[in-house]
Symmetry: C2
Subunit: 364 residues, 2 copies
């Protein structure tokens, strides 16, 4: 039996308590200051208000002020806070980490420095840690297609634990893995984290299609624009592959669960697709966000962060100005309120006959 | 104005007459012996019974016995017959091909020789041609995500024309390409053709998920098995990449429109997904085919052809027995009536902890 402390009670990290409890581990869910009611609910009835499944009775819940009790003796610590709370989580964990705990995190995103350098969030998490904490605790990440409700319902889910320490990954994989929750490992932490961030961007891109169709006056038969979606998906896959290579990862990582697998599941629905649909229909980003009730939009945030860094990476000679045309257009749409006008002719290295001209120069 | 003769009036090749006519070309649609009523309908009203859009008035239709008139002076010939009719089409074209015509084909599949060697259909098409015909006419192929009804409705569609002759590809691309129908080119004919065949196989695989869920007693909430589908999609993408390399293509081809792009669109619906759903629900292949009215199932045919060749490729040392676990299982399900039992532990090079054992040995 392994003691696992989880910081955060979002759907994904809460659902991860299911395979852990199924394996007989001692799982301790610690809410953030935003999670008081969720923790109250789990304490009272083992039910997370946003997950339909009842959690295993062995999962115990703690309010944030009870965190020291929950973390005492934990052998594995899971940072379940999303990309917006990574710094906050790192600071909390600095005061809570047991000496020999393995750390694994689920936040998806990249953070741009002033010079455009893009950092993976597992590194951002460690920023406030002491030197000896950084030496003792490598941070691994969970990537791959993982809809929380399906995981909680014990439907087959295949994921990749990524990190720099293979022995730690093996131990984590054997702790979390069940017949329903199947875990592969990868030491391409950078590649996996880049894919995890970008799949949200490109799922938002795929979402544009339905909105564009509606804006054109409806969707009789054929009722979708699957070809349009598939072209966006394919360009997203190609750009993901290239960005992994630019940032020093293994481009092969984009070809399986962390890349196209996760992008596939994210493109079938969820918040990024919904906001993409509204943008495709002509809404400005702020309108779209408001219509959805200002939800957490990791995809849009990643587009701002990575898209904003691209010109700096161009100046540093790391990418060419023609690279990443879909990501650049998504940035224009979200950050600069440019109307959606997919730059098809600059996709896939440039359409024959358009290769010499700057495609859609007017909207660049 | 270019004269283009099309043999076959399936939805896809008929829809291709739309961008050609939009570009002002002289398009001649020739029905096979199975297409008499379709040709009558187009002659009478420019309507293809299975496509909602009216065809441009400039498209002319011919019965098979009128083919010599249609093909006279054609500069481009499109073989629009599916994989089951490739030999038949090759024989017809042998008697019809104008001397300098460029040929392009849309059939998707691979053909296995007795020793397991897998041949692309553009080569099978040329089999009955004379030596000088083969010298004069290279055959290119259209690959990528292309739902015919959307193409006919002039919704944006991005495809790849693949062939061995770049000058021919450039001419074909400029003849077919419009603002809605956007054409890239690739000289990796083998890679593109392998992807075109395999995406139907793996889309059938993705279809299993919903059937499995139904067989387990329904789909309340969560209402799908997206994680399950995404894992199948990712394994399909990885196997596609590997098969392209095994057969001498460029594995990068699997990463964009011909590979994951086309697999994405094919996995969202269509016959392969529907038959997969029935198989996942427990039907034997013959039952599933009967319930769907014995439609043309290129995906199932490709699984039989390629899956049947795999043991021979293993004996020839071209692939290892552990390779292509999803394709092998699909073959077992379709050809040997083995119940669906996805061999997760053998996916992605083998799940940690299962690498030394033969996964699911009982169903091999």
């Amino acid at each position: 039996m392994t003691r696992v402390a989880i910081l955060g009670t979002g759907q994904t990290c809460t659902a991860l308590s299911v395979p852990l409890a199924d394996n007989g581990h001692d799982v301790r869910l610690v809410g953030t200051h935003l999670d008081r009611e969720i923790i109250d609910s789990i304490k009272a009835s083992s039910v997370h208000p946003d997950l339909d499944e009842q959690l295993p009775m062995s999962v115990t819940a703690y309010q944030l002020e009870e965190a020291p009790e929950a973390f005492a003796g934990a052998e594995i610590v899971l940072s379940g806070v999303n990309s917006f709370g990574v710094r906050w989580a790192g600071e909390r964990l600095a005061g809570l980490l047991p000496d020999r705990a393995l750390v694994i995190a689920i936040a998806k995103g990249l953070e741009a420095a002033a010079d455009g350098e893009l950092r993976i969030l597992t590194d951002v998490l460690r920023e406030s840690w002491s030197g000896s904490q950084r030496d003792r605790h490598s941070v691994s990440a969970i990537t791959g297609p993982m809809i929380a409700s399906e995981l909680a319902a014990r439907r087959e889910t295949c994921v990749v634990f990524a990190g720099r320490d293979q022995a730690a990954l093996d131990y984590l994989a054997s702790t979390f893995g069940t017949d329903a929750y199947r875990v592969w490992t990868s030491t391409d932490l950078v590649g996996c984290e880049v894919c995890a961030a970008l799949k949200n961007c490109y799922a938002l891109g795929v979402g544009l299609a339905e909105g564009v169709l509606q804006a054109r006056g409806g969707s009789d038969r054929p009722d979708r624009m699957h070809n349009y979606e598939a072209a966006l998906f394919a360009q997203g896959a190609a750009e993901m592959r290239q960005m992994v290579a630019v940032l020093g990862g293994d481009s092969e990582t984009a070809g399986w669960l962390p890349g196209v697998g996760d992008m596939y599941v994210t493109s079938t629905g969820g918040r990024s697709v919904r906001v993409g649909r509204l943008l495709g229909g002509g809404a400005r980003f702020e309108e779209a966000s408001e219509r959805l009730g200002h939800p957490t939009l990791e995809g849009a945030a990643a587009i701002r962060e990575i898209g904003g860094a691209l010109p700096k990476l161009v100046r540093r000679g790391m990418v060419s100005p023609e690279d990443f045309p879909l990501l650049r257009h998504l940035y224009e749409v979200i950050e600069l309120d440019v109307p959606v006008d997919v730059p098809w002719s600059s996709f896939f290295g440039g359409e024959p006959g358009h290769r010499r001209t700057t495609a859609h120069a007017s909207s660049d």
